[in-house]
Amino acid sequence: MKKHYAFAFVPVLAILLSPFFANRVTPYILGLPFFMFWIVSWAISSSVFMWQIYRLDHTYKEES
């Protein structure tokens, strides 16, 4: 497995383990209950992580 694929584990773990450390209503952030905000923000972040992986894949392909 390429090293930069490890980026993908960050949002995966943040989402899968969210019931254990984000399952609460307060504080409200951007008007959303904390649990909702946590999940939405990690869903958006996962796009950023996947973009990094996509970019690095292309960089390494060009180098090789």
Binding site: V25, G31, S47
Partner: protein
């Protein structure tokens, strides 16, 4: 009433026109009809995938679940996100193999990979069994949308028949080209309607998002998070895993993926899709906004939350636009489901019994099977009493059983034998089917188990049994398979 129905009729005519235009200049053989001759670029594949994602489930089921279940509804955003991330690695491998082998459908894929026609037939049967509840969702949604948008002038059952006829005609004339073009109209409409309602309704009724959630928390403490039992943490995690692994196991999603021009299309999609599905949040917010404004909806009536609140708030012309958007969210996925189901029945079941059938005859059979599948779905719609959200989980628990034999063989060829793959799928599907048909859960079977085990999604139990059976049978039959291959080679 006539205003809202007229607006819906205009959008329906536009969709049928797009469907007819989409087929111009193309000879509608089976490959063009079902996978567009593998000629779709990133934009169209994106639209088809998104078209598949924003179904009636998003429109009514998402808001209905938020209204009825609260916090656990967020699993929908989680599984979609993880499913799209997984597709970055999974789908290019699937696409590459399919292109090399000339595969057109998921059962073809399994039959080719394991060199077993019988496994192809089994996968086709699992596919159809899972797609029927998914089609029922679209028809149930259509019934609600047309009936509510006509202010009750058209009954839900009449609306379901209208929807079935329209979808059947639509898919027969245009195939996947029509679905892709109509997806453009549908996605624009759904973005406008869901985001518009999701922002306007909380501000109109509560002043702000936070004020709305504070009032819900006051009226129903703990409703906005996961409960301690039932839809608890273990239910949430196992459901997210089952549905993320199953996201691309749906035959119509799989089929849409095969229409891509090249494998890079999936990598681009995996980057964009997680952001795109944040629209789902607005669907949930509509459901949350309805909790205190239209209280008392119970059972399957929770799926009416979006429309009940809209009818209370807006003029008929707005209801017409909402109804048109809802109609399209049922038409596009519904057409993809019908097309996939009929294609795989024709290619993998009909052709198995009539091996001399030409490609043209298989194409005719595929189109002939469209109304048959639609009629079965209509029958199930009138005879089932599940909410839209429950039907989705049922379907996913079935299709995810195809994931282990697919993944194991893509990772390392010949690790799983055709006997192992068949036994694993049968075992997993049997557990899910038994649980669904008898409404038996782990809590009923083993009441003394700890709560976190009892709350697990039955799909994950089926998946675990599937993997154990598949591995065991593969180890037992590996020698026999090797001998068979060398005997055939000799």
């Amino acid at each position: 009433m006539t205003v809202s129905l007229s607006i819906m009729a205009v959008f329906l005519v536009v969709s049928l026109y797009l469907g007819l235009m989409a087929r111009r200049g193309k000879e509608m053989n089976l490959e063009q009809w079902s996978v567009a001759g593998r000629g779709f670029g990133a934009v169209f594949v994106f639209l088809l995938m998104a078209g598949e994602m924003y179904t009636t489930f998003t429109f009514l089921g998402g808001s209905g679940w938020a209204y009825g279940k609260g916090g656990p509804t967020l699993y929908i955003i989680c599984y979609s996100t993880l499913g799209f991330m997984l597709s970055y690695w999974l789908m290019p491998a699937v696409w590459k193999y399919s292109k090399e082998q000339g595969v057109l459908s998921q059962p073809d894929f399994f039959a080719s990979m394991y060199k077993s026609r019988n496994l192809g037939i089994l996968v086709a049967c699992v596919n159809v069994a899972a797609m029927i509840p998914y089609m029922v969702i679209q028809l149930k949604g259509l019934g609600i949308i047309v009936s509510e948008a006509s202010y009750g002038a058209i009954s839900p059952s009449t609306a379901i028949w209208i929807g079935m006829i329209v979808t059947t005609v639509y898919v027969t004339i245009s195939g996947i080209h029509g679905s892709a073009w109509t997806s453009i109209v549908k996605d624009a409409m759904i973005l406008l309607v869901i985001c518009g309602l999701g922002i306007y309704l909380p501000i109109h009724y509560y002043g702000s998002f936070q004020s709305m959630f504070e009032q819900i928390q006051q009226a129903k403490p703990g409703f906005l998070i996961l409960p301690q039992v039932g839809m608890s943490s273990s239910w949430f995690i196992t459901t997210v895993i089952v549905m993320a692994l199953g996201l691309y196991m749906w035959p119509h999603t799989f089929g849409a993926a095969l229409s891509a021009q090249n494998e890079n299309v999936f990598r681009k999609n995996a980057v964009i899709m997680p952001i795109y599905q944040i629209v789902l949040l607005f669907a949930f917010i509509i459901g949350f906004a309805a909790i205190l404004q239209v209280p008392g909806l119970q059972g399957t009536a929770v799926d009416l939350a979006l429309f009940k609140l809209s009818l209370k708030t807006f003029d008929p012309w707005v209801i017409g636009l909402i109804g048109a958007a809802g109609f399209l969210t049922a038409l596009v996925p519904g057409s993809l489901i019908l097309m996939s189901a009929s294609t795989l029945l024709a290619r993998n079941v009909y052709k198995a019994f009539v091996p001399n059938a030409t490609d043209k005859q298989v194409g005719v059979a595929a189109k002939g099977l469209v109304p048959v599948v639609a009629l079965v779905a209509v029958y199930c719609t009138f005879n089932g009493g599940e909410t839209i959200g429950t039907l989705v989980i049922m379907g996913y628990s079935l299709v995810v059983q195809l994931f282990p034999p697919l993944l194991f063989n893509l990772m390392k060829k010949d690790t799983v034998t055709k006997q192992g793959a068949t036994a694993g799928i049968v075992a997993g599907v049997a557990i899910v089917a038994y649980s669904t048909l008898t409404k038996t859960t782990l809590a009923v079977l083993f009441p003394s188990l700890p709560a976190f085990v009892k709350d697990m999604n039955i799909g994950i139990i089926g998946l675990a049994v599937n993997i154990v059976v598949m591995t065991s049978v593969s180890l037992l039959t590996k020698g026999a398979s090797t001998k068979e291959v060398s005997r055939k080679a000799a």
